[in-house]
Structure formats: structure tokens, C-alpha cells
């Protein structure tokens, strides 16, 4: 009957009524969908009979799309034409008495609920970023709460989800911008005691009766301790003090720059993020126990009909490619992202060597009245100046020179694949396509990574819930691990002081990274975070795959090193994250951690990290 009525309206050219009736019919009962003569209505819409300001047009296009699920463009076009006809650029601008009175509430609600959604906004040229898209959808939901309060719970939920997404994004940004860090206050506190006798001696001497020394270089031995300067000249004392400040600023295993490079960049993040791009595209494999890269199963299976020398050659090329990629990543991690001083890390991009002139300039700033504290400020300011200069160079190098090296590796592999194709009349264009896609993904990832290399800004983080940190950590880990879903996190409702945000993030990240890297990939890992006896406890349960005696030996070594305060492992990235966690709790939060790790005969692994949290609990 309804179908007959709509067709009759079309037959007598009462198109608007036909359109309006169809939409109303659908809004009344979705089952009437099949009664709507879409083709006739869409033909009329296409012939531009209607005013574009009719809200029924985008709705009918949407209903049709829902029915046949092809060409969402028609909905996007109708949506844009509708806004244009109202002389507004954003759908949230419909929150205006004029529009609210003009359109039937049910239609306006349907339009806002179903058509002004993020996927349609993604096609809309007036919205130029994902952030704008999300904010606009939030405004639309807020409008819907007022327009259609009976469904407000649903809109509030959507706003909550969008806000959560935005908060996680902001948190990730905050973490990314805080990766470079030096605890200057702690360094100054430590040096104020350590350097006082030398500084007093320095200020007591006069240059007039001292034979000037030759050009001075800063030397640091293998253990990171500066060589003793034996000549008792004022200049040498100055140089010795500078060396000690440089050593502490750069290499102190609690507060120095290298610790933040290690825990927040080199460990897991850098290699993980870049390598994962190749892993996701099935372009690299891992080494087996014989230190040989395993064959690329994905492409071997894909070309399983190719049985000849061509696929053998391709697999060999891919193996070599894995080796080259890992070699470049290791070079970046082990050689480039290091601090260079005279004598160590010759390729390090953080250059803490001093020219004679720089030392003289710093010394000339020191007058008789200069205190040790001011002296330290002068040297530390110079070190920050050098660091900031290096950070600019590093950002530039990452997005150009280093990226180019990776692009060249890909280019060379493509060229070699082409040679195989031509030699064997074979077709491996799918691998070449994937390699070309990877170039763009790398370009974008390197741009993001370059943003890690910035001097931290002094921004105040509000108090936060620990569950928030867990969500941010999981979001980061998704870039490196495909099986993040295997992690189950149970967190009590714990709110902490904003000052602990970055430290707690890196603790949670390291715990989860450990669980994902070393846990049994077929079993769930659980992280529980709770407060017990005024202690914040992070407890992990998972299954180990390693031989129990080997695991126990490793656990014993880790616990011994931590107990003895062996901090050397903090700046090494290949091992477990426990040293880093221990370092963060001791030196960033400045509390004493308790770390218990155990494994039973059933391969059940349990680690428990705790520390008193009272002062930071909100």
C-alpha cells in the first residue's frame, strides 16, 4: 500500500511529498525500507528537481546506502550540498532556532545521529584534520543531548569514547615530547657536594702566577670516569670540573641524558616502531638459533607455485634485506643515538666535545664572586645549548639522511627483484608494491620519531588515573606487538599526582613490553595494579616459554644486580626492562622499589614491583 502511494505521488509529480513520505515511513518503521522505490526517487534527485536544502535528500541517500552498501559518495555529496544550501560550513551550526524550527525533529535527529558521523565527515573538505573531525562529532553529540534528551545516555557514551581517544592521544603526545630528559636539579645537588673542594681551590688560585696549559680535551675512561688531571693549574682544575659536569649530565646512570635516551627511546621504542613496519608488511624475518635469518614464509607460501630458482633467489634477497634492515637499526641505536665525547662514541649525534674557544668563553663568564651554583648553571646551560643544537640536527638527519638510507635499501631490493623477474620471466610485482608502500609508511614513522628529539617543555600535568596510563602504554605497544590483546589489565581506581605521570607511564610500558616480549605467545598475560599497605603494586602473571632453570638463573642475576645497585644495565637496551623500572622508581620518583620475580615448576611466571606511594596518592 505504502509503495503504491509513493509511486502514485511520483506519477502525479508530487516529488517532494513522495520523498518526505518515504523518509517518514522509514523513520516510523525501518522494515518499510523494502517498500521505498529508491530507483525512482534517486533518479528524481539526480535530475536536480529538488532544492538541496531538503533534509530528506541526504537521509534517503543514506537509507539507500545502508540497503545496498555501495558508493558512500552519494551520501557525502548530499550531506555537503545540504550544508551549503543552509549557508553553514559545519553540521554543528544547525544548533540554531531557525533550523530546529524548520525541520521535523525526527529527521534532524536522524540526520545528526546517522549521517553527521566521523566516516562521512572524513570526506568533507571543510574538515582538514582528524582532530577537527573528532571535535565536530563531539559538538554534534552535545547538540543531540539538547535536541533529543531521551537518548542522551547514548550521546554521552559517544562523547566519552571520543574524549578518551583524545586524552590518550594527548597523553601519547606528552610522552613523545618528554623523551629527552636530564634531571638537572639532582645533578646540581650531587655536584654541589662533589665539586665544592675543587671549586674552592679553583677560586683561590690566580692566573697571574700560573703557566698556561696547552689545549685541553675531555677524556672519559671505559667506566665513564674522567681521567684525573694531575697538573695543578687553574685551567686544569676548570677543565676537570667541566669534565665532571659533562660526565654527569651525559652519562650519570640515574639522572643523565643517556638514561633517558636508553629508557625512553632506544629501549623498545625506536627499533620496535621501525622494524614493526617491515614485519607488518612481511618483509623481514627473525634470526634462528644459528644466527641465520629464517626464510620468509609469507612470500614463499604466496608463490608456492613457483618452484624454481626464481623464488629461491627472492627468498635469499629477502633474507639479506632482513639482515640489512637490522644492521641499520642497530647502527642507529648503538652508534648514532649516543653521546659523543672525546674518546667515546665517535659517531654519536649528541656531541659533547668542547672546542678550546668554548671552554675559554665559559671560563671568562666566571668572576671572583661566582658561586659554585652559578658556575654549574653556566656549564649546564652550555650543555643544554649543545643538546638543543644536536636535537635540531638529529631531527633533520632522521627525516632526511637516515630515512634515505632505509629508502635506498628498499630501492636496492626492488632493483634486485626486477633483475630476477627479467632473468626468469617471473612476476613478483606484489612484493615491489609492498616495498613501495613501506617507503611511505617509513617516511611518516620517521617524521613521528623525529618529534621525540625535543627539549622537554615545562608543562604541568594534572592528576590522573593509573588506568589512563595503561591505555596510553597499550596504544604505544600496538605499534610494536601484534598481540596486545593478549594482555589483560586489572587496575584499581587509583589517582596519582600529575608529577609522576611520565615515570608511571614508562614503568607500565616496560612491564607490558617485558610481558609481550618474553611471555608465552599463546597464553594471556595479566597485569594487576593495586594499592596494598600504602604501596602501589604492579603484579604480572604469565607463562614462560623458556627452560625453567635458565629463567631462574636470569631472574637471580637481575635481582642480584638490582640489589647491588649495578646500574650499568640501565643504558643497555637488549635485556629486560627491570633495570629501567628500578632506575625510574629510584631516581625519577625517588622512592625505594621492591622487586620480586619468580617462576614455578609449571612455568607460571610472576613479577611484583611495589613502592610506597602515599605522597603521590590523590
Amino acid at each position: 500500500m505504502a509503495e503504491f502511494y509513493i509511486n502514485s505521488l511520483i506519477d502525479i509529480a508530487n516529488y517532494i511529498e513522495a520523498l518526505r513520505f518515504s523518509v517518514k515511513l522509514f523513520l516510523k518503521n525501518k522494515n518499510y525500507l523494502v517498500k521505498i522505490p529508491f530507483h525512482r526517487l534517486l533518479d528524481i534527485i539526480d535530475s536536480n528537481v529538488f532544492e538541496k536544502s531538503l533534509i530528506e535528500i541526504p537521509i534517503i541517500q543514506f537509507i539507500h546506502f545502508e540497503l545496498i552498501n555501495i558508493d558512500i559518495r552519494r551520501v557525502s555529496y548530499a550531506f555537503e550540498d545540504f550544508l551549503l544550501a543552509q549557508n553553514i560550513s559545519l553540521p554543528s551550526e544547525l544548533e540554531n532556532e531557525m533550523f530546529i524550527n524548520k525541520y521535523e525533529k525526527s529527521m534532524l535527529v536522524f540526520f545528526l545521529e546517522n549521517i553527521c558521523i566521523q566516516s562521512v565527515l572524513e570526506d568533507y573538505v571543510e574538515i582538514q584534520s582528524y582532530e577537527e573531525n573528532r571535535n565536530e562529532r563531539k559538538r554534534i553529540c552535545e547538540f543531540l543531548i539538547r535536541l533529543n534528551p531521551e537518548n542522551s545516555k547514548c550521546y554521552i557514551n559517544e562523547i566519552f569514547t571520543l574524549t578518551q581517544e583524545q586524552l590518550i592521544n594527548d597523553g601519547m603526545k606528552r610522552i613523545d615530547e618528554s623523551r629527552i630528559n636530564v634531571d638537572v636539579e639532582s645533578i646540581k645537588l650531587s655536584l654541589n657536594k662533589k665539586l665544592l673542594p675543587l671549586f674552592e681551590r679553583y677560586t683561590s688560585l690566580s692566573y697571574s702566577n700560573i703557566v698556561d696549559n696547552e689545549y685541553f680535551t675531555l677524556y672519559i675512561d671505559e667506566e665513564g670516569i674522567p681521567f684525573q688531571i694531575t697538573e695543578n693549574s687553574k685551567k686544569n682544575i676548570f677543565h676537570s670540573m667541566v669534565t665532571q659536569v659533562v660526565t654527569m649530565f651525559g652519562f650519570d646512570s640515574r639522572y643523565g641524558l643517556d638514561v633517558s635516551l636508553s629508557t625512553k627511546i632506544r629501549h623498545g621504542f625506536l627499533v620496535g616502531n621501525i622494524r614493526e613496519i617491515f614485519v607488518k608488511k612481511n618483509l623481514v624475518t627473525k634470526k634462528d638459533s644459528n644466527d641465520t635469518y629464517v626464510d620468509n614464509k609469507y612470500w614463499r607460501d604466496k608463490y608456492d607455485t613457483y618452484l624454481g630458482a626464481d623464488i629461491v633467489k627472492i627468498l635469499k634477497l629477502l633474507n639479506n634485506f632482513s639482515k640489512d634492515i637490522d644492521h641499520h637499526l642497530m647502527h642507529l641505536k648503538n652508534n648514532l643515538l649516543r653521546i659523543k665525547t672525546d674518546g667515546i662514541n665517535k659517531e654519536g649525534l649528541f656531541d659533547f666535545t668542547f672546542e678550546k674557544q668554548e671552554l675559554e668563553e665559559m671560563e671568562s663568564a666566571i668572576i671572583d664572586e661566582t658561586s659554585l651554583s652559578v658556575f654549574l648553571d653556566i656549564i649546564i646551560e652550555k650543555l643544554w645549548e649543545k643538546t638543543e643544537h644536536d636535537l635540531i640536527i638529529i631531527r633533520e638527519k632522521i627525516t632526511h639522511e637516515i630515512l634515505l638510507e632505509f629508502h635506498e635499501l628498499i630501492g636496492s631490493l626492488i632493483a634486485n627483484i626486477l633483475k630476477v623477474e627479467s632473468e626468469f620471466y617471473a612476476d613478483f610485482h606484489e612484493i615491489r608494491n609492498v616495498l613501495n608502500e613501506t617507503k611511505i609508511l617509513l617516511q611518516n614513522e620517521f617524521l613521528l620519531i623525529s618529534n621525540w628529539f625535543k627539549k622537554p617543555q615545562d608543562s604541568i600535568m594534572p592528576d590522573y588515573k593509573i588506568s589512563y596510563v595503561c591505555e596510553i602504554a597499550l596504544e604505544f605497544l600496538k605499534k610494536t606487538f601484534a598481540r596486545v590483546d593478549y594482555i589483560e589489565i586489572n587496575v584499581d581506581d587509583i589517582k596519582l599526582s600529575g608529577s609522576t605521570f611520565k615515570s608511571i607511564f614508562f614503568i607500565v610500558y616496560n612491564i607490558l613490553h617485558n610481558a609481550l616480549k618474553y611471555g608465552n605467545i599463546n597464553e594471556k598475560s595479566t597485569l594487576q595494579i593495586y594499592i596494598k599497605d600504602n604501596e602501589l603494586v604492579f603484579e604480572v602473571f604469565n607463562k614462560s616459554t623458556e627452560d625453567i632453570s635458565v629463567s631462574r638463573e636470569k631472574i637471580s642475576t637481575i635481582l642480584n644486580n638490582i640489589e647491588k645497585g649495578n646500574c650499568e644495565k640501565v643504558t643497555k637496551e637488549d635485556g629486560t626492562g627491570f633495570y629501567k623500572i628500578n632506575n625510574i622508581i629510584r631516581n625519577e620518583i625517588k622512592l625505594l622499589p621492591k622487586i620480586i620475580i619468580s617462576i614455578d615448576d609449571e612455568y607460571n611466571y610472576n613479577s611484583k614491583i611495589s613502592f610506597e606511594i602515599g605522597a603521590f596518592l590523590k
Binding site: 573531525n133 613523545d176 630501492g411 626492488i414 613501495n436 617507503k439
Partner: protein, 147 residues
Amino acid sequence: MKTIIIEDYMTKFNEIKQFFKSKNIQVEGKHSYLSGLKEIIVNKYDLIILDMSLPNYDIKISERSGKERTYGGLDILHEIKRRKIESKVIIITQFDSFGEIGEKKSLEQLRLEIKSHNFENFKGLIHYDASSNDWEKELGKLLKECF
């Protein structure tokens, strides 16, 4: 000749830009579907060089770039037709097949599909290969035909 390149892969963008520079043609650049589309709506261009696959939004630090548009170039062609933009369009792509398994299209299939839409302004689809200068020859030839 007012020209714009809409391309997200910077190496390719710079090479195409260099090609035009060698012919004393200044070019503008945009690096995503929406930023490119907005630019060609607001400003008039004689020639638009399009990549086929584009991110939806410009890449921003710590923000999503939205969906990846496998056929972003084709989407822009549809918009050009709908908005009656008069610029001539050349697509330069480094891929020789598109889409997911099962829906994969070869370059030739894509050429035919574009042809089937009767885009008046579409002048050609060129395969870009960084290791060869064939694409430059082809682009030079198309430019001669167009202008």
C-alpha cells in the same frame, strides 16, 4: 602554467617538482586527499598532478591521518567532475596494482576504469619508477599534448 602536485611520498614529490622546475614551471604541493581537494576548489590550476593512493589528512605529529585512500586520486577526479573544475589532470603512481586481495586491480584495469567514467579533464595515468626515467618521458609527452 599553474600546476599543483598532490602527492604524499616526498621523494616522488620532489622528483616530479624537479621535473617541472627544469621546464621553468613553478609548482604548488599538497600532501593529502583533503588538503589537495580544498586547494583545487579554492584556487584555479591549469594542471593537477595526482598520486593515486593518498592519506585522508595531512600527517600530523601524534594525530591520526584518517583512512588511507587507495583510490584517493580517483576520488579527486570524481570531485573535479562534480565541481566542474576545469584543470587538466595527470595521475602518476608508483604502484602497478591496487586494492586488497580479491579486489585487486592492475594498472591497466585502473586505466580502463578511469576511462569508463568519462572524466573530461583526465589526460593520462603514468607509472612512476624511481629507477628509470620513462615516467619523465611520458609526462613530457603528455604535457606537449595538453598544452
